[in-house]
Symmetry: C2
Subunit: 205 residues, 2 copies
DNA sequence: GTCTATAAGTCGATAGAC
DNA sequence: GTCTATCGACTTATAGAC
């Protein structure tokens, strides 16, 4: 605790206000689309005048930046807490399912995290860090699976293919299951290719 | 030819002007991003005043709609003209390579065709038709492959997985080949799963 | 320090002269 | 068909009350 400036007095109000603006921004993005987000709508929702937002965020891009950082941080936290089965193949299915569920739960969040939707917006290095941490954690949990030595390219292929299911689902059948129902088959395909063992035999349908 | 109103007199000028505006819109989108496209920038590029664009397109969304239609029409035309090897597996590789090359050649075009980047923009039925035609042609060429009976889900899985390579390439390594170099391996994986025969043995490296 | 008030510049879009 | 003029909405920034 020592060494931290004890300005906690009104620092908490600032942080709370920031969180409030951020939460309002997500609500507006879900209602009006990520690219349709306006500072006026955010201010309305949080009960402020638009210029007052500049007290908390230097620009609209800074707001997007904070949203990007928060989204990947939440992904990383929840993925870190995700309990996986001991069976390697079941674990890979669990990772894929977690990834797909997270990406399909929130369209603007998915667009911000995984696409390049906002022109001229590039995450700052500080906000890009959580996404790198999340990816490293993913590689780490893959490599911790018993019975196979994974190369970088193996994880890349997995991420690309599973991400493709998400993208196809969102753009061709939003709200449905036309592509997500193929996820199990796709993951088995990839797992077979990696020679991933199954210590527990698969259940009968 | 009979039955067509012979108004071709100044109808051609109208059509030419429309094409010119459309071409300018693509150039602006490639320069400023799809979401960063403005009617002023389009008007500047085509040597018009912004309100004059409304003579040719009823709204900005109508312009996006025409771009969407043009992109899928061009895809369908070029795919129809694509010559594929007789060997079924080589043909599938050809289809995948064509799809990926087309999607990676132009970011705003890819965003417009395959993602939901513009808030509140949904293609009109008339503009959606070419994309359906293209998908049906793709299914048709898959089914024409000798030696295997393909279900709808098989094509869906192929489209999703290959589309995932495109999305990952654009968002994680634009301009590189980190994901596209995995395409051959992915397609072989899918082809193996479908039991696709190889009449011609694969070449040695 | 945080807010209100306000203004400049830009966006999509419309009305009406020629 | 194209123009001028203009509207309402949005982003951004500054000035000043509390």
């Amino acid at each position: 605790m020592l060494g931290t400036p004890t300005q906690t007095w009104q620092d908490r109000r600032r942080a709370a206000a920031r969180r409030e603006v951020l939460a309002a921004a997500w609500e507006v993005a879900r209602r009006d689309g990520l690219g349709g987000l306006t500072l006026r709508a955010v201010a309305d929702r949080v009960g402020m005048r638009p210029p007052s937002l500049y007290t908390h965020f230097a620009s609209k891009h800074a707001l997007y930046d904070a949203m990007f950082r928060q989204a990947w941080s939440e992904f990383d936290e929840r993925f870190a807490a995700l309990e996986l089965p001991a069976d390697p193949r079941a674990a890979v299915h669990g990772i894929a399912r977690f990834y797909v569920d997270f990406a399909l739960a929130d369209l603007p969040r998915h667009q911000l995290m995984d696409q390049r939707v906002i022109p001229d917006f590039t995450p700052s290095p500080e906000s890009y860090a959580p996404s790198q941490r999340a990816m490293e954690r993913m590689v780490g949990r893959f490599r911790a699976l018993q019975g196979v030595a994974l190369a970088e390219a193996d994880v890349d292929l997995f991420v690309a293919a599973v991400g493709g299911v998400v993208a196809a689902q969102w753009s061709n059948d939003p709200g449905g299951d036309r592509y997500t129902r193929l996820l199990g088959r796709l993951v088995d395909l990839l797992a077979d290719d990696l020679g991933l063992p199954t210590t527990t035999p698969r259940e009968d349908p």
